[in-house]
């Protein structure tokens, strides 16, 4: 039954309220109100997420059986190849150990390998806050996920987030924090920009998200050149296909050495100041389940400029 035309002021009034909300939200006045709503919405979102996960897992298991069979075949082949590689690596290790002993090098060598199982394993949840992804971004033009850890667990804005299952690597950073949930801005969001470097060539750049959900490494100096051949590191100082892209740690917002992705294409124009590389994310950001929030890390010390000689 249609309403009488007498009350046609209501939609316009609601639009005005909507505009007011937008302006107040942009000015940052509504954070306490949003947090209050989150107290109600967060538990509901968790319940919905649990139900959806339980139902989805049932269907997904059936769907993935075929895919898993193919993966098992691939993995068997990989195991064979790795077994052979392992044999030769054991030989190398024995050789390295004897050489290190000769050089009395072992005690002085410090390994800075914080990336890997220590950071990414599930057991790390005892040390770092782990977050389960409980919601996807409803706005089709933004790339965020909601995780079930918030300020009560010590999460703060800007903290790096890495994946804790499946593909290993950087996922994004905390953009908004509520008491029990946080919103993670994914690497693929248009507003995301991470200082990065290429593993083999050590060339630096900026990895930015694209509207189609891919990544681009921009501001790579032209002097870096393009690697000869398709193998990573085919030329020192070059940008090569397959090169691993890592966080550079510049700016102090991210730890150095987190895996971002792999170069799949290099776009170079002679007349441009910089070249660009298309980067495939190391993590499948559309299938995130468990992530890890890095709450503290060692920042790169800023180098003091050398004192000017008189």
């Amino acid at each position: 039954m249609r309403e009488s035309p007498r009350r046609s002021w209501l939609p316009l009034a609601l639009i005005v309220v909507g505009l007011f909300l937008l302006i107040a939200s942009e000015a940052g006045y509504l954070v306490p109100v949003e947090n209050a709503f989150h107290y109600v919405l967060d538990p509901l979102q968790r319940v919905f997420s649990r139900v959806a996960e339980a139902t989805g897992n049932l269907f997904q298991t059936v769907r993935e059986v075929r895919q898993l069979r193919a993966e098992v075949e691939d993995l068997r082949a990989q195991v064979d190849a790795l077994t052979l590689e392992n044999v030769s690596l054991r030989d190398y290790r024995a050789e390295v150990q004897s050489l290190r002993a000769l050089l009395a090098f072992t005690d002085e060598f410090s390994i800075s390998g914080y990336l890997g199982a220590d950071v990414i394993g599930r057991e790390a949840c005892d040390t770092y806050p782990c977050g389960e992804v409980i919601g996807e971004e409803p706005n089709p033009y933004l790339y965020y996920v909601t995780i079930n850890t918030g300020s009560q667990q010590g999460v703060e804005e800007g903290m790096p987030v890495v994946s804790a299952g499946g593909g290993l690597g950087l996922v994004g950073r905390i953009a908004e924090v509520a008491p029990r949930t946080s919103k993670v801005q994914l690497l693929t969001d248009r507003e995301s920009a991470i200082a990065a470097l290429l593993q083999t060539s050590r060339v630096t750049g900026l990895v930015v998200g694209q509207p189609d959900g891919t990544l681009r490494m921009e501001y790579i100096p032209q002097e870096a050149g393009i690697g000869v051949g398709d193998s990573p590191g085919s030329g020192q100082g070059n940008v090569s296909l397959g090169d691993i892209v890592l966080t550079s740690g510049l700016g102090g917002f991210m730890p150095k050495g987190l895996i971002i992705g792999q170069v799949t294409e290099v776009q170079q124009m002679d007349y441009e100041l910089f070249q660009t590389a298309v980067v495939r994310p190391a993590v499948d950001l559309s299938r995130l389940e468990l992530v890890l929030v890095i709450t503290s890390f060692e920042q790169i010390p800023l180098e003091e400029p050398p004192p000017e000689e008189p």
Partner: protein
Amino acid sequence: MHWGCVIDLYLTIPLLTSVALTQTVLLSRVDLWGARPDLVLLVVLVWAVVRGVDEGAVWGFIGGMTIDLLSGGPLGATVLALSAVALLAGQPWGRGIGSPTMRLLLLAFVAVLAHHLVLLTVLAWTGYSVDWGRAILGVAGPSALLNAALAPFVQRPLVWLERKVRRERLFTL
């Protein structure tokens, strides 16, 4: 606003919150060539068609608020976008053109496009870099087609709900 409308909020708020949660937890994962089913939008659209622009706008406001609270975007963006949908859908456009289903399909197509245009405008206004060509051709267009096709499926349960609500109101009065 009469008391019936206030009492209806007891139904509206849990219903739209559930729909918005379903949208964020389940449907936002669906991506068919850039198109996403938008259940909150369809519910607001159909309710505005069935009950008129006023109730449609109230549903748009509540649904939009919930979506904005669950989103990483600015609060108020979806409120404005869904209000635009309610305003469009609540008008007596094209009465007498084709069958009611055909009118709903056309209206849904136009309303989804309007929703995306408002959303993109708000995002651009609040400082997000928007690739208009890609957004309209790659996301808004496919989403308009998909959601227009889904609109009749959302209409049936909501028409049933509207009849039930109307009957209960009659008994109450």
